[in-house]
Amino acid sequence: MTLSGWSMILLFLVLIVVLAKPAGDWMHALYAREKMPLGFIEAGFYKLAGIDPKAEQSWVGYAVSLMVFNLGGIALLFAILKLQGVLPLNPQGYSGMETLLAFNTAVSFVTNTNWQNYGGESSLSNLSQMAGLTVQNFLSAAVGMAVAFAFIRGFARRQANTIGNFWVDVTRATLYLLLPISIVLALAYVVMGVPQTFGPSVVATTLEGAKQTIAVGPVASQLAIKMLGTNGGGFFNANSAHPFENPTALSNFVQMLSIFVLGAGLTLTFGKAVGNLRQGWAILAAMLLLFIAGVAVAYGAEAAGNPIHHALGVAGGNMEGKEVRFGVAATALFAVVTTATSCGAVIGMHDSFTAIGGLVPLFNMQLGELVIGGVGSGLYAVLIYCILAVFIAGLMVGRTPEYIGKKIESREMKLAVIAIIVPPLMILGLTAIACITGAGLAGPLAKGPHGFSEILYAFTSAAANNGSAFGGLSGNTPFYNLLLALDMFVGRFGVILPVLAIAGGLAAKRRVPEGPGSFPTTGPLWIGLLAAVIVIVGGLTFLPSLALGPIADQAQVAAGTVL
């Protein structure tokens, strides 16, 4: 580890804290239905779509709208991918995607996962990338934000039987937040060297006289929303490690900031909405605590390098699957950023990280991606843990727990536990199935414990809607295309539906005034409790699987054994 490496990490943290407040205010304006400039666009959308923007929805109405909209999105994206061969904007003449792969990809992008069992530059037309994938990059982030807004309303409202209007929340998040920021970022990325063209690949004759075909495309416009919306699906197979998708250390730094900014800001949107900004800062503080711990472990492991390679006379940190312009520090930081959120973009190959360096991204996702988290999904995931933490605190002193003035009772706890238990059930259950079937065992590239890690990572990434991979796994098989799609779908909506149900229940409750016996949810005690509950619940659930995978892997490498 170097001083300059840590200085960069510190600068990143400072900028996130500075940016969180304006981002939180902006999203609060969307949440609170404040008038936006160019409001006629919004109004026109509602008119054409037959939406009454003043109508409010119960949690059931909100949930039904959300499910129909997402299923419609899956159907549309599937159709575009299947039919790309006969659709326009296909300069390389790619044919339609294979059915199961198209299904997997459609579910993947609608659930904000962006798991990719295909290579973008070698199989997708420009139309598929733009009108197919980019659109869902916007919408899946907007849907996440809508669910977060609905959950916030559950805490902020009193004796109400509605939690907002799904159509309005999604439309406003897309038009007045994601789109304008993406336009600015996309142009900034072009300045830094990211291509943006509808032209075909370029054929160059190299200095040594060889032919080199260079794939280009409308990269910048997709890159901007891929990061901002914590989607993570790369234009190119190598994702943000590709020099066209991340040309400089500066473009990389901007990408990392844009992954975190909305998730960090939403904690303050929450604080502002419930009338106490310190509630938001407390959540952000607990998140950043876990984040710094993750960065320290990952950076330390990658900087220490690989003893097996050192024995061959190689010096320095682990550079297999990393780019020179980023180096070890930025690549480790990025790996933590991308898995703390539901982004899943990569600038280095997690599969080739050291065992402990690779454990950190895996564990981040298993915690439920609530360290900042995905756009919207991070906030609703962490609020579920807040409910669990006040419940545990309440058990210790024998009082009915409350959070933000709302009594947490048996219905809330049952639903919260469902939201917490669904992802681990999918991850561990499907990993187990893959480990006892031939089709599952055919996937991994690595032998021994690392092969198990590749399977575990895939199902973790899919259930957590992350999308990064231990890329050695051959995922484009009927077995993995189907099971990973199921994993992504249940991992997304198996959490969203209980969250909306809790939101509906909380909104209907009265707000109890804070008394001397109330547990304060703002101070250091609370921040420590929340972080501890997150780590203990995550740790207890997944420790055995981590022992079989990365920890055994580490022991193997330390012993100098190769497989």
């Binding site: 999604v170 291509p195 280009v216 320095g316 190959m349 497989l563």
Partner: protein, 199 residues
């Protein structure tokens, strides 16, 4: 519930259509329009052309160099033979992989055969994440100077100063790592050879 379901159909269809129009077509088309007019070099892939205007590669993308007269880039796993800029890829080999250890051992022994001594910088003998990493660490470039200078009959000090001049420093001293772009360095090398021969 059923009425809610039926009521959700029209907003779903119309919103998907409108958002596809705006974010899927208008947005990328606008960015492309602005980029092609204002920033044509970057927008088309930062291509480098020879004197006749034919592209010889991209300043951002690694190309293969095998001749001893050129600096060699990092090993590549992109495509079948490496450096395939239409199929970016990494090895994804595990830290405890035998294949990876054997590949690195072979590259180290090749480097030794070429006369490189001391520790080998990790970037010189490992494949990158994209397979198209255009850069080397300055240390990895310096190790190749004596081979390049000998093959070209150039002064070693001159070749070394070329690397120093081409080295890019981290932004603000902290963001990024020091690196040298191999294609740009090799172009400078050709220029140096031409002027030296001219004298």
């Amino acid at each position: 519930m059923l009425t809610e379901l039926i009521r959700a159909v029209r907003p779903t269809v119309v919103l998907l259509f409108l958002v596809t129009l705006v974010t899927g077509l208008l947005y990328p088309a606008t960015i492309t329009g602005i980029a092609q007019v204002a920033l044509p070099v970057q927008a088309n892939g930062s291509l480098i052309s020879d004197t006749k205007g034919n592209p010889i590669g991209s300043a951002l993308i690694a190309q293969n160099f095998t001749s001893p007269t050129y600096f060699h880039p990092r090993p590549s796993a992109a495509g079948k033979d490496g450096y395939d800029a239409s199929a970016s890829a990494a090895t994804n080999l595990a830290p405890g992989s035998k294949d990876l250890r054997d590949a690195i051992a072979k590259r180290v022994s090749d480097a030794r055969a070429e006369g490189m001594t001391g520790d080998i910088p990790a970037d010189l003998v490992t494949t990158s994440a994209s397979g198209l990493d255009p850069d080397l660490s300055p240390e990895a470039a310096f190790l190749q100077t004596s081979r390049v200078a000998k093959a070209r009959g150039l002064d070693v000090a001159k070749v070394r100063s070329l690397i120093t001049a081409q080295t890019e420093e981290p932004i603000l001293g902290i963001i990024g790592e020091r690196h040298v772009n191999v294609l740009l360095l090799n172009r400078q090398l050709d220029t140096l050879s031409a002027t030296t021969r001219g004298k």
